[in-house]
């Protein structure tokens, strides 16, 4: 395999996570399709690094592979290619894609995921207490008598207060944003060192969201947690993440310091994304988004630039050449575009 340049942030420190050429394809076989060897290229050879204590943002089009990437990084799914090296400083870096048994259990204690949809991810037959206490129990991380206390404090921290009124309810007795906070509490309670946060605050109003963001940040500082922070809310990414990657159809198309990417986007997709951010003012008008409609399809994409069919500045060179590699551009960020 070729050596991939993954854009280290700090020289000299070993990253917590190093993703190399990660790939996940889902085979497609159904009566709707005559093609027999079709597959969804959900994650299509991506590489990046995540430093200890860093929040790394992942943004991009709906369906571009963000959740799949997150699931691969905490080993809830197996990749069809590539590696994820995990190095928490205790012993040598391990490729988590090959972990088994006791090793996998140890890894699970260190890596948690906050799932995107709190309606699907909470077990309907478990009380909030049982749900949030579960990782403590599975990992034997807290004496049984102290669990109630610890869960209560965690609920309080995510704004489910007073905790006594939530502990023995079931998920269906909570609102969307309340469930979302239960999911956050469950992931953070065992003080992991790596958290994939998949749209963790998408159903929260600004005030509660700010509280949760502050909590996640202060835990990061106190415990050195690293986050892979998946979000559609670019303002949230700006507040939470030092670096950010923009995905499009399974590929990272732009990656760099959050301020650089958001203030001076270089890839045409990133530029379009920023132009589409709605403005909280009913009298404001926004310039129309410049990219063509078209539906992005991850089913057997042609080898050329993934953005070609919708790109406003595409030319014949883009059509006849493979998907461009990420290269450092002025401004410092890496961009995958022949014309940026």
């Amino acid at each position: 395999m070729a050596v991939v340049d993954t854009g280290v942030t700090e020289v000299g420190t070993r990253p917590l996570i190093k993703v190399e050429g990660l790939e996940k394809r889902f085979p497609v076989a159904s009566h709707w399709f005559r093609r027999s060897h079709s597959s969804v290229h959900a994650v299509d050879g991506i590489s990046f690094e995540l430093a200890r204590g860093e929040s790394f943002g992942l943004v991009g089009e709906s369906g571009c592979g963000k959740t799949t990437t997150g699931r691969l990084l905490v080993r809830l799914a197996e990749p069809t290619g590539g590696h994820v090296l995990f190095d928490d400083g205790e012993g040598a870096a391990t490729d988590i894609t090959t972990l088994r048994g006791e090793e996998l259990k140890t890894f699970r204690r260190k890596a948690q995921m906050i799932f995107q949809d709190p309606y699907e991810s909470l077990n309907p037959r478990r009380t909030i207490f049982d749900t949030v206490a579960e990782p403590l129990k599975v990992q034997d991380a807290c004496p049984p008598l102290e669990r109630l206390d610890r869960v209560s404090r965690m609920l309080e921290m995510v704004g489910l207060s007073p905790p006594a009124t939530y502990l023995f309810r079931y998920p269906h007795e909570l609102s969307g944003g309340q469930r979302q906070r239960v999911a956050i509490a469950r992931a953070l309670i065992i003080e992991p060192i790596f958290v994939v946060a998949d749209e963790p605050t998408s159903m929260l109003d600004v005030s509660i969201r700010t509280g949760v963001m502050n909590l996640m940040e202060s835990l990061a500082e106190r415990l050195g947690i690293s986050y892979l922070y998946i979000t559609h809310d670019l303002a949230v990414a700006r507040y939470m993440c030092s670096r950010i990657a923009v995905m499009y159809l399974g590929k990272i198309v732009e990656m760099g310091d959050t301020e650089a990417v958001l203030q001076q986007p270089k890839h045409p997709y990133t530029q379009a994304l920023l132009s589409a951010v709605p403005i909280p003012d009913p009298t404001a008008t926004r310039a129309p988004v410049r990219i063509s409609g078209g539906v992005a399809t991850p089913l057997d994409p042609p080898p050329r630039c993934r953005f070609y069919s919708r790109c406003p500045i595409a030319d014949d060179f883009c059509r006849d050449n493979p998907h461009p590699a990420l290269e450092v551009k002025d401004g410092g960020q890496r961009v995958a575009c022949y014309k940026a």
Binding site: S62, Y239, I291, P298
Partner: protein, 326 residues
Amino acid sequence: MNGQSTSAPVLRIEDLGMYYGTRSGDVKAVDGVSFAVGRGESVGLVGESGCGKSSIAMTLLKLLPENGRIVGGRIVLDGTDLAPLSEDQMRTHRWNRIAMVFQAAMNSFNPVYTVGDQIIEALETHIETSPDVSMERVRELFELVSLDPGFIGRYPHEYSGGMKQRAGIAMALACEPDLLIADEPTTALDVIVQDRILKELRDVQQALNMSLIYISHDMAVIAEVSHTVGVMYAGRIVEWGDTVDIFQNPMHPYTQTLMSAFPSVTGPKHELAMLGGEPPNLLNPPTGCRFHPRCPYATDVCKTEEPPTVEGSDTHWAACWHPLEA
């Protein structure tokens, strides 16, 4: 957004109450709510997490859990009060007259059937149609919500979060309802897809003269989609008015906090404000004005007496003892 029609309302809710019975007492999730939605009008419904927005939506469709019960009031849809209707009678209204995009995207779909089959079934149950026409309609709907028609024959678990959400929107629009309730329909969508869907929604709305109740925590989206905004706090509507008025001249102190700090993507990076104090307990809501424990303007009267409804204009009111000056 302006230009809604002002004809007789499609929906009128009068003093609606819906409580959830629990071991510790009743959770008063909807407590004396009244408002009207005109034909072709878009109403944005906002408020803190847990204040009762989804509860209002589920009450309107009468899709309540076992412990939820309507304790009073009327839900008048085009002259018919839905509140006393039986489940059988309700079925004739749901989906073709009043449809919903659920906050729980999975509630729209059964995991064991393909998404396409489920939309076709909805079409065939509610409108007379042939298989070819239905299939054509499903393709149209997929394109409307920017979904690859290649996914029509795929199962819900093969969809990403945002794809499921879009499929839910397609499903809700399938039977061309008179009133669409969309509960946080774009939380899993990137801003480009969201932008396209909101445009399509506006077009459909105009073409069908459909009314819309749009629930969201995203004030920027509310600013784009709604003619009118209702602000909820602790089971009640505390302010109601034209979108521009609500954004520019909020009367209720709670609305003011909602409007105070929008995190910005390109502007200066400022400290984000937080509303202090505890969220209200709906088992036992505060007396007087429910916002009083957290309100910077609260006086003694606020603690004991229900606030009066004060009109700022014909189309703008708030429930407050000391409304803010415009």
